[in-house]
Symmetry: C2
Subunit: 218 residues, 2 copies
């Protein structure tokens, strides 16, 4: 089971999982600004890897969107166009990854899938608390305690301590379709190049010495 937003990190995570598994993929939509664009990226990446429809699902988290409180889901909070500073960014969606992991574990229990892969990045990421390894380990424990005793799912976050540059290099090495990914927080035909997600991505490609294959507005 691989959680796949359609972004760079989850695409590389999926490419890694494809090395040794025949994964099912789960995408989530939660009323974020770029929901339609991310969904397209997810479907194109899944097509690229030849994942059949029966092993793709989309989770609708309208509750998270309706809660608001994040620049990603609340149109009244602008997406910052500066590099992330200290603390938790305004783009944090409260406890979002717990919803994604809960859905992945529910489906994994039915499929008896041994592991859930998530492209969370702690070191060189956005500072979201639900991307930290300590959270992922605690959730793994909860998943083992809260499901059938015969089912002990692992939560795999192979990129959690990688830098963005390492993730870009790994993606290229694995032949991951980085040209199909979408990372930008703004809705648009082209990535904005200015939001914190675009900045992290562009800095990663720069540090890897590779040109980003997607198009930017600026």
């Amino acid at each position: 089971m691989v959680l796949c937003s359609g972004g760079l990190d989850s695409c590389v995570t999926l490419a890694l999982a494809m090395e040794s598994h025949e994964p099912a993929v789960l995408h989530a939509t939660y009323g974020q600004r770029t929901a339609a664009r991310e969904r397209r990226a997810f479907e194109e990446i899944a097509d690229h890897f030849g994942i059949p429809p029966a092993r793709r699902r989309v989770l609708e988290l309208s509750f998270l969107g309706a809660l608001g409180g994040s620049a990603l889901t609340d149109p009244s909070i602008p997406v910052p166009r500066t590099a992330p500073g200290g603390g938790i960014p305004v783009t944090y969606v409260p406890f979002r990854n717990a919803h994604l992991l809960a859905a992945a574990v529910s489906w994994a229990e039915l499929l008896v899938a041994p592991a859930v892969f998530i492209g969370a990045v702690e070191e060189d990421g956005s500072g979201y608390p639900d991307c930290r390894e300590s959270f992922l380990r605690a959730f793994e424990r909860a998943a083992c305690e809260g499901t059938s005793p015969r089912f002990t799912p692992r939560i795999e976050a192979p990129l959690v301590h990688r830098t963005k540059a390492e993730i870009v290099r790994l993606g290229i090495e694995l032949g991951a379709p980085l040209h199909l990914t979408w990372s930008c927080y703004e809705a648009g035909d082209e990535a904005c190049g200015a939001c914190e997600s675009c900045r992290l991505r562009l800095a990663g490609f720069r540090a890897a010495g590779v040109e980003d294959p997607i198009r930017y507005a600026t």
Copy 2:
């Protein structure tokens, strides 16, 4: 923050929380057979306690319903009309309480609510793994790790080691509106009296020496 299905256990949990808090209440609908009836019970119980609309929310978990695999959400799997035996019952919805707790923690983080109450019952319950205290403690740890460092929500399950008879007695002591609750797994105007949930409930009232105020078809 109190999770409230509209059943006996969550009604008594809410009555307990009302003793010392002004809680917000969260109800979930996940494509279960009795979704409309449970929703009505939730609204009537919230009305009884005078909880204003701004502190009530309904979580739509259509994903869990679409996954199926449980007699509660899959119309092709009949609800057993016998007492639960050993193992995990066919009415188990995979990892359901993780979805409910994730939503409650997300909302609690926005409200800066210090605790999430859940009416999970381990000892005298249905044998669901996500009602065990070990799961709730592991999830509490995940909630503290996966949210802002300033936010350390407690997961309170005051009934987790109570028997059904104790829960009935406690509800009566607290003046909880047990006549408004709905526990039955079958859709109907009256509770079936035969499913595992009705059996547990009726046995609890019997052991408490109290008559169940709701109507049964049998």
